[in-house]
Amino acid sequence: MSQNGTLESPLRVAVVGAGPTGFYTAEHLFKQKEYVVTVDMYERLPIPFGLVRYGVAPDHPKIKSVTNVYDRIAQNPGFRFFGNVEIGKHITVPEMQAYYHQIVFTTGAQTDRRLNIPGEDLAGSLPATEFVAWYNGHPDYRDYEVDLSHENVAVVGIGNVAMDVARILCRTPEELYQTDIADYALEALRQSKVKNVYVMGRRGPGQAAFTTPEIKELGEMEDADAYVLPEEAELDVLSQAALADSSDRATMKKVEIIQSYAGRVPSGKSRRLTVRFLVSPLELVDDGEGNIACMRLVKNELYATDAGTLRPRATEKVEELPVTMVFRAIGYRGVPIPGVPFYDSWGVILNREGRVLDPETQEPLAGLYTGGWIKRGPSGVIGTNKPDALETVKNMLEDVASEKTLCPDKTGQAEIFAFVQNRQPDFFTYDDWTRLDALELAKGEAVGRPRVKFTSVDEMLKALGR
């Protein structure tokens, strides 16, 4: 095999999925000096940035500023973006193997995990992931029906998605207007009748997955009070001992803030956000017409596993929570890509440190890699994907050195371009995104908002004069 990665024969890499990990993968590939690399990034949606655009809450603009970093990566002359191109639909993985030396799947985790309780599919029980996609203007969810005529709503889960959903439900229209939330969501939330939001965690304050700023933020909303039941704010004996043992300052601070919400007297704000601890939903009760009448939940207690983790276990105490709308936010899950081995029980691509494995032999499949949430499952913050991508890229480069890459028979940048164009004439380039970005910012400026998002593909094509 002739040496790849030279000026005459650059190492051609395809990255599937334009979220943070896709960009960090490209960044690490461009940073190394040993090989000349080109990166073609494929994205199912016309616009890049994945969960930074369609997952991060609109009232967290600072977190979104990471796109400036991605923008700089995209300026590398070896980088191309093919948006609105779906792998498995427009182009298959075997077809890509004829064009690239290496293919990296960074498609993230797109669906939600289910609660597996009776009543989960009643009207008014929704996956938080879809609600998040809806308010963030995801083209697949713009026509999603969200009935906000309910007064009492539960969010099951206590991670950052649960916190985001609860906050967005509690923000005032004025607060939301200052964000880049989708126009239609802003309108729908303006009409919202929601008064009480319950966020529910299975474990106690000492194990809560949210961060300190996230819990602090709940207490600073314009027209919603944060509240915690005093008895649920107290740490149980096991948690107290674990905390004393670890002297973990971050958790101590979190517990302190939670306890400051305990038993707070309502200050007259129109909404109340209650964080419940040590509870698990048992059933969503049917009102006889397919709607939620209420939620039955059970109180939990903690026990220590052999390995030392404090886990929840149901007690005898059952309670009814008078909610008629429920969001499940207990975690994201990856979706398989046709032609790529998937490890279903973990919801990830079968891999060893980023190298995709053959399910039969457990040996790496030449030229196929993965990174980010579809590699390790949903965990960590955006930046966690940077070292994760680096691990994959290190293995990719090692395989280039030992000539364990794909052997594409078709070469040349123009050939790939023609191939994509043939399969999906409506593909979007990075320049297209740059133009759409400017238009979104201008639309926002005209009405005093940071940005007004395009939410349909047709709208985007029209704006580009196509």
Binding site: N68, T309, W346, Q362, K375, S379, G380
Partner: protein, 144 residues
């Protein structure tokens, strides 16, 4: 962070050995796979012990003929296992307190993986690096 996210990128295979195999075979396997411990399983593939480098070294110090011993002779039988949903933080704590470096992970009675203290350290380091990177990016955005 959960143990699950460490196991997810380690493939499905766990290197195991049976109690009736010889230490010779265990040493070969440890060297070939570049690992520090082997999970000892019975015929139903259920973990019944663990054999670590340390177990072998301890014997080697007093017995030059250890290679023909059986795995069952040297393995540690008091096995602490974890679950995919265990917190990395608490498992690291348990390992440090009880002074061992590998923990088999079991789900519904079935062995699904093994994590080392090194795996956990690496995952936690990546987590912290990620958090620092995210914070730095936000601070830079404030400055621009």
């Amino acid at each position: 962070m959960k143990i699950r996210s460490i196991l997810a990128k380690k493939g499905m295979n766990v290197i195991t050995i049976t109690p009736d195999q010889e230490i010779r075979q265990a040493v070969t396997l440890l060297a070939a796979k570049n690992i520090g411990a082997l999970v000892v399983v019975n015929q139903e593939q259920r973990p019944i012990g663990i054999l670590s480098e340390r177990d072998i070294i301890r014997q080697a110090a007093v017995d030059e003929n250890l290679f023909s011993l059986k795995v069952a002779d040297l393995m540690t039988q008091q096995l602490i296992t974890g679950m995919p949903n265990d917190d990395t933080f608490s498992i690291a704590h348990t390992m440090t307190e009880k002074r061992f470096r590998h923990m088999p992970i079991v789900e519904d009675g079935k062995l699904v993986g093994i994590v080392s203290i090194g795996d956990i350290m690496k995952a936690e380091r990546n987590q912290y690096r990620g958090e620092i990177d995210t914070l730095e990016t936000q601070i830079m955005a404030d400055d621009s």
